[in-house]
């Protein structure tokens, strides 16, 4: 499986993502600068976590307008798998590749800790190695992860089984609507989630429950 990680100014999980991808897929991802015009041929494009462009204007808003995103959008529309983690999720919503928006955490605080989640939808290229209802534990590290969309959009996401991950109801770290932690696009080739699966792939980091996400992609895309 060939992968690419997009690097924006102030991305800070790009190397975490690259390390996880290399360990699990066996090949190094291409690291692609935001100012480039094209993403090299890849089965998976990762938009990593961080604080791209210093979260100026709104988190993800500037990165969504960067040059490389034109090609990411084109490739997503052609069916290439795109995974947005944390700031990457924020960028995907600002780019219009996923519905809704990530608001400031209701508690106003930056939350940095592992959270319990439930896999809600295992029928996707990103989640097929999980079982529906399986509990997983990934770290979160964000100040703006409070997923918000109007009720019609939320109903539609749920009706189409596009909520991939939900926070355990007792462990919602940010006030996200309906405990939503991660969602799929209509075509199910784009996943955005706030928690960090790439930081839950090694027993030394306290959890390996992020690994099946990358194994799912290998199974689906290789």
């Amino acid at each position: 499986m060939k992968s690419a990680v997009i690097v924006f100014p102030a991305s800070n999980c790009d190397r975490d993502a690259a390390t996880a991808l290399e360990q699990i897929t066996g090949s190094k991802p291409a690291m692609v600068w935001h100012g480039d015009a094209d993403v090299p041929d890849a089965d998976l494009i990762v938009l990593p976590g961080g604080f791209s462009y210093g979260d100026y204007l709104r988190c993800g808003a500037m990165a969504a307008q960067s040059r490389i995103m034109r090609d990411v959008k084109d490739k997503a529309n052609k069916g290439v798998a795109v995974l947005g983690i944390c700031n990457g999720f924020q960028i995907l919503t600002e780019a219009g590749l996923l519905p809704g928006v990530l608001l400031r955490n209701t508690g106003l605080k930056f939350v940095c800790r592992p959270v319990e989640m439930v896999v809600e939808e295992s029928q996707s290229a990103f989640t097929r190695a999980y079982q529906n209802g399986e509990r997983v534990r990934f770290p979160v590290a964000h100040g703006e992860g409070n997923y918000f969309a109007d009720d019609a959009t939320l109903d539609r996401l749920e009706g189409e089984n596009r909520v991939a991950f939900r926070y355990a109801p007792s462990d919602n770290p940010n006030g996200a609507a309906r405990n939503i932690a991660g969602i799929l696009n209509e075509r199910r080739n784009v996943l955005g989630l706030m928690p960090h699966p790439e930081r839950a792939c090694d027993p030394r980091l306290g959890s390996t429950t992020g690994r099946p996400l990358f194994e799912s992609l290998i199974e689906s895309l290789a």
């Binding site: 709104r58 409070n146 918000f148």
Partner: protein, 80 residues
């Protein structure tokens, strides 16, 4: 021409920062302070003399970048 764009949260969208500011004002003794909403002001210089054209361009800017219309509304003010 100069423009001032106000970007504010739509009614009903939670504004925890506004709430925190409201609480702080209450704590400072401003007991009359009720609901507080925080927004943004963006000043833009435009090389455009035609007001109708400027307004149309600014609206486009708001829709494409300055506001996220899922949660925010905007107002445009023009100054000669």
């Amino acid at each position: 021409m100069k423009a001032r764009v106000f970007v504010t949260l739509k009614n009903g969208v939670l504004d925890p920062q506004g709430k925190a500011i409201g609480h702080a004002l209450n704590n400072l003794g401003f007991g009359m302070v009720g609901d507080v909403r925080q927004g943004k002001v963006i000043d833009i210089e435009l090389a455009e003399a035609n007001e109708v054209k400027a307004r149309a361009d600014l609206k486009d800017m708001c829709e494409k970048l300055l506001a996220n219309t899922i949660i925010e509304k905007y107002e445009i003010e023009l100054k000669a």
